[in-house]
Symmetry: C2
Subunit: 228 residues, 2 copies
């Protein structure tokens, strides 16, 4: 395990001083990302200080230096994931709106779905990068929801995340002609979450395509308008 070769390999100064390891605040970020990746790859019960540190290539004590406790580490990791994903969503939606405004047209169902699914379907092959950052973020976000279901401290964070999606996607749906944009956005996001989780959980990555199913849903919602 340990290599007590104290005399054989003296730590060369150049190697130590170069940023082979992140230092300072960058180390904090590295620990957060290691936490998210571990959460997605191994599950919540595999999250330990030692595994996080090893996965980040950092010493054990760095985890307790930058985070008060294991719970604090998990909370901050989920906040980090939420903030990053919300920023991504607003960026993607803003780009779409500007693009449509320039053309003087409404966003299509396909474009709206593309914004929603942006982190999940970069390229078509989902198997190409099964342990990638997108999958990690996705699984981490669902792990957050389950944690938040029983931990009030996380519910505010989860609510903010959910509201952001409904706000942004609702704006897009309104432009597409939805008569009840906020409600439709909630349904669309719920369906997207459900489809993606089902896809991950069943491993049936070739049986159906979330994108086409969701486009059908958007068209149905917009076409039907408000009931009564």
């Amino acid at each position: 395990m340990t290599s007590p070769t104290t005399s054989a390999r003296r730590p060369t100064r150049s190697r130590r001083l170069s940023h082979a390891r992140p230092r300072g605040q960058a180390r904090r970020i590295a620990l957060l990302e290691a936490t998210l990746e571990l959460l997605a790859e191994q599950g919540a019960d595999a999250l330990t200080h030692r595994r996080v540190a090893e996965h980040a290539g950092l010493p054990l004590a760095s985890t307790t230096y930058w985070f008060d406790s294991k719970e604090h580490l998990l909370t901050e990791a989920l906040r980090y994931a939420a903030e990053r994903d919300e920023a991504r969503l607003r960026r993607a939606a803003g780009a779409l709106v500007r693009h449509c405004d320039a053309d003087g047209r409404a966003p299509s169902a396909g474009e709206i779905v593309a914004v929603v699914l942006d982190p999940c379907v970069e390229g078509e092959p989902p198997l190409a990068d099964p342990h990638g950052a997108e999958r990690a973020a996705l699984l981490a976000s669902y792990a957050l929801m389950l944690e938040a279901a029983r931990r009030p401290a996380l519910q505010a964070l989860s609510l903010q995340w959910s509201d952001a999606y409904r706000d942004v996607v609702g704006e897009l749906l309104a432009r597409a002609g939805s008569a009840r944009a906020a409600d439709d956005a909630r349904i669309l996001m719920a369906a997207a979450d459900g489809l993606l989780v089902d896809r991950l959980a069943t491993g049936s990555e070739a049986d159906f395509e979330p994108r086409t199913e969701l486009e059908r849903l958007v068209r149905a919602l917009v076409a039907v308008g408000a009931p009564r």
Copy 2:
């Protein structure tokens, strides 16, 4: 290290286990239910042999007697939850179909949604707490999905669960006039899961009503029919 067989045994001479601790196979079930409740209340990382045993009111060694390992216990608990929920779904759907056949009419959107949401509004005998039962079953099923996302052994179980829902709900939607019942069922189940998780995660139990939102969705899907 094989666990005791789960094959059917002849009934013991009398139901004498009223006041005493459960014994035999009943003890196995008690451990499974304790596992599910603990999973919902405390999360996956709080699942330990000692906590499960204590929650079931049984000695520590009973957990390793009836289940080879902690992983085996978790797997069997999720299988138990899936089988029970699938049976409940088929029972509820069958009752609705018979009722509609007797009246010579199609099931309404509200009735279909009621079948889907049935576990959330009706307490079941094995889980005691009327309000906790829905949460426990729901959270356990979502925990299963996340576990299955990274554990192939659970994907078959998760796939069977998902297929059962699509099969049963698809039949109901077809009767209601859906032109693409299987696809619509997938969307409806995904939306239901997403809405319920969002409700649990954000704690916004008064902000919206999944039932009315899902009825809107069903009407939209049925009305729009097959595109192209």
